[in-house]
Homo-oligomer: 343 residues x 2
Amino acid sequence: MSAAATQQESGYSAASRGEDALSTLAALVREDLEACNRLIVERMQSPVSLIPQLAAHIVAAGGKRLRPLLTLAAARMCGYRGKRHVNLAACVEFIHTATLLHDDVVDESALRRGQASANALFGNKASVLVGDFLFARAFQMMVADGSLEVLRILSEAAATIAEGEVLQLITQNDTATTEAQYLEVIEGKTAALFAAATEVGAVVADRPAEEQAALRAYGHNLGIAFQLVDDALDYSAEQEKLGKTVGDDFREGKITLPVLLAFARGSEAERGFWRRTLEAREQRESDLAEAQALMRRHRAIADSVARARDYGERALEALTLFAETHEKRALAEIVRFCVDRAR
Amino acid sequence: MSAAATQQESGYSAASRGEDALSTLAALVREDLEACNRLIVERMQSPVSLIPQLAAHIVAAGGKRLRPLLTLAAARMCGYRGKRHVNLAACVEFIHTATLLHDDVVDESALRRGQASANALFGNKASVLVGDFLFARAFQMMVADGSLEVLRILSEAAATIAEGEVLQLITQNDTATTEAQYLEVIEGKTAALFAAATEVGAVVADRPAEEQAALRAYGHNLGIAFQLVDDALDYSAEQEKLGKTVGDDFREGKITLPVLLAFARGSEAERGFWRRTLEAREQRESDLAEAQALMRRHRAIADSVARARDYGERALEALTLFAETHEKRALAEIVRFCVDRAR
């Protein structure tokens, strides 16, 4: 059975399972998460009212809070009992939000988290500048925290994110992109912040370098799995469930693993199709369906998801270092949630 | 004689004097500045080649390096003998460059430092992302420096810059903007980084709080004077000398002090002119000349420059705390350079 067909038949229950994993994690750190949400609202305030107004649109739009949840749970799994992780989880979410705002400018995406994107409502200018504000505010909050190690980790992540996004821009519309380049893109744009989010959990808990590295590896591999699935879903998910427009990547000519696999395995005529639609960006009404059919024919979605599962396994392996706790089990469940979204 | 006429008659010699002040300052910290320039080129490198390529376009385009020069000279005036200030001066320039790149997206300005703007050449996407990279890189470099006080000062400046830019966006095309709001805009978008650039000079030299505050006041007031003159020049300078398009602010409907003064002092018919051109943005070929004529009639340029001179005086006063050195004299000359540009 094709991956897309599988997704359509068992999608609902898989989504429920996924949301269960996320709910379990959220319930486990409920007080921390509530404190984090309060802090987010508090620290996005500014006398310049457009800033909280626009930030609220995206920060408070009911995002999954996946990244801050990772920071909160990682710190607790490491036995941390203080409050610093709440502040750092908010920093992680601000950095994530800033990249979303800047990504909206970049991608002209019409939907984000199921709502009109901030830049469609407020304009490109405001999105760029409010992103800058949130980014700067995150650094102010890290300075208040006072750990140079945390600042090192998150400033490096921020630089790597930007590099990944620029590389994505360069490889866009280029079917000669290699899998290695694609991997570099998603390591930058997604895995870098996941890795930083979990690593700082070990830092606030003052755990040894080995555990810090393990939590970083967990986040890194989880992030890659997450993005691989996201890229698969762009061709296979039902629009309503995804909360974003299916086929966005296709319309923008983004080169993702499903495309690379279908291209590599395709006939010369099929490669012509990909070059026309993604490089020349000459797209007709029926082309998305044709792209999906080619992916089914070459198992491009199923194999992308299988790749995600491999990275998921590595994320789980990284957790073996830690004692069995509720937090560890919840972090393991999150890996399954990320991979199962694609089923 | 009107300010605009004065400017046209004595503009050349004033510009020469100004460049002398800048050259004097640059000569005084020549080795530091060269080291700073090398560091800038070194640290804007990335395996993602579009980043140094685009950054070079703006960083290496022969900007005045005014902000890093301020950091270098302030540190030396404070008796600092190490090398940390070189690194921090590069951070200041990176933050400045990031805001220019994001400002280019925002303002669609056709010329920047006399060259085609980065976003005209490379596109909005790349400008936003490379700006993000330089911003993140600046924070990485501050982390390597290791002073939380420096990180506090520059992250606060970054947040204030974003607030100022957003406020500018809100007040754009609104002739009901107050002088207080205008001042808040330029304090944010310009004075905040000038203040931070000079303040960190005292911090690396480990000077007492009083001197740190004095250097901050110097930079703050210099920054306001600088921006007031910039806003006056947009209506009065010769295009060649300014290195940017005269009338940019007018065409974009930016509300600057010359506009606010001409509007407040104008007849009802004149206010209609400002509302049509700046609020409704219905502009005809002859409107810029008309705007300049109204400003001459109401001494709007001359009085804006006089206001700049007042802030310049405050900047000079802030220097009285320091012993007479070559650096102090050069920093005082820079105040005159900033104000004299408008003559």
